[in-house]
Amino acid sequence: MPIDSNLFDNLRLELRRGSLVLAVLAQLRTEQYGYTLRKALADHGMAVDEGTLYPLLRRLESQGLLVSEWREEDKRNKRFYVLSADGKAILKQLLAEWKTIDSSLNGIVKG
């Protein structure tokens, strides 16, 4: 049976989706607004489109992992996000989980 041309893209998307939350939380250990956050993620090889990032920020904030405030910078009002206390705790747990997964996967891949 021929492999669906979209199959790789879909699997890649699934793989990145979980990692993206981790990347966003890690990046927001220091306060940033959406546009600079997206640029910073892209600079680290985690390019994400705004249609994915902003709804994700909103969801993480509603889950209590981020706090945000509107503030003026360079004569423009911007919404700044930063990790909340709960966000910091969750990030610590997720990073530990990530390291476990990473070492497990390395072991599996190396056989």
Binding site: Y33, G34, Y54, R58, R76, N77
Partner: protein, 338 residues
């Protein structure tokens, strides 16, 4: 930045009212930042086509707004028919249609009850009538939304940033002379008209779907059968226009002229019907109806009279509006040529 304002307004129209101001404000900031970055890169203000390109890359307003909804429900029969993006709109339209259907049925049954029909007799026929109506509504609405969803998935970039409210929702898009007739509009019209023809045929053979239990002693007057062929021919004409506009979306005036033609035909048909009552007659001749049944016949015909009167008024108003829009479009074209 009229272009950006229109774009953000279109996004806001698809967002839940509690969050829309906040979301739109943030998106506005993001787009402004993008524009400023690009201007700094080029060392000059952006031209309108360049702003259009930024908005196009940002995505169709419906798509952008849809990502803020945390509703993952969808309709699937093996294959996905309607995805999470359109699902909330699909449910709204379905609820609206079913609400209207319920109100109409309740009205019909209230008339029968007022005319003295036995409640047990009324209730026995209700489930069947309601089931068929639900089935037809469900099939029509699901078919149209599945077609829209399929088009959406295949061509997410086929929309015009200068007209952010148009493209995927032809039924609620801004009327008037557009640069092109959206292909999605043509497909939706074709699907809707095919379903309409099927519905018309089913109603002919099963009048109880409209008349309910009164179909046992009432039937539609012959005038409805006389109108069947003209109505089918008009439907074919509308289908031909939609098919042509699917192939040639730039033939916008074809749609305008067809609308006018349909409008004239509509006013003529409704007026003709209004003058040719009664619209519902006894199955065995008027003389055979007495008491409650005669009363029902009188009330049903009165309802038809007022409904047709409203139809004549509305269709006349729509025709005048379409004529005005066509005239205004012609003036605009003449002015721009001059």
């Amino acid at each position: 930045m009229e272009l950006l304002d229109r774009y953000l307004k279109a996004i806001a129209s698809y967002l839940p009212s509690a969050q829309k101001d906040d979301i739109v404000r943030e998106l506005s900031e993001d787009i402004h930042a993008k524009i400023e970055d690009k201007q700094a890169e080029l060392g000059r203000p952006l031209a309108e086509p360049e702003i259009e390109a930024i908005l196009k890359a940002y995505g169709h307003p419906l798509l952008v707004a849809g990502r803020y909804r945390q509703d993952e429900r969808r309709v699937a029969f093996g294959k996905q028919l309607i995805g999470p993006l359109l699902f909330p709109f699909y449910i709204k339209v379905l609820q609206f249609n079913l609400g209207i259907t319920s109100v109409v049925l309740l009205f019909v049954y209230a008339v029968l009850f007022a005319a003295g029909d036995r409640p047990i007799h009324l209730l026995s026929g209700l489930p069947m009538v309601f089931f068929y109506q639900l089935l037809i509504q469900f099939a029509v609405v699901t078919g149209i939304f599945a077609a829209v969803d399929g088009h959406f998935a295949k061509h997410p970039d086929r929309w015009d940033p200068r007209k952010p409210s148009q493209g995927y929702y032809p039924a609620v898009s801004v009327a008037g002379e557009a640069a092109q007739v959206p292909r999605m509009e043509s497909i939706s019209i074709l699907i809707a008209l095919v379903v309409w023809l099927v519905w018309l045929r089913v109603m002919q053979s099963s009048p109880f779907l409209i008349l309910g239990p009164t179909a046992a002693y009432l039937k539609f007057a012959p005038v409805w059968h006389e109108l069947y062929v003209p109505v089918v021919l008009l439907t074919f004409a509308a289908m031909a226009q939609a098919a042509i506009n699917f192939v040639r979306p730039d033939w916008v005036r074809l749609r305008s002229y067809t609308r006018i033609g349909m409008g004239v035909a509509g006013v003529v048909l409704w007026t003709f019907l209004l003058k040719t009552g009664p619209w519902v007659v006894s199955s065995d001749g008027a003389a055979s109806l007495e008491g409650m049944r005669a009363n029902t016949l009188r009330i049903v015909n009165e309802c038809f009279y007022y409904s047709l009167l409203v139809a004549v008024i509305i269709s006349s108003f729509q025709l005048l509006r379409d004529l005005y829009r066509l005239a205004r479009g012609t003036q605009h074209r003449a002015a721009s040529r001059a």
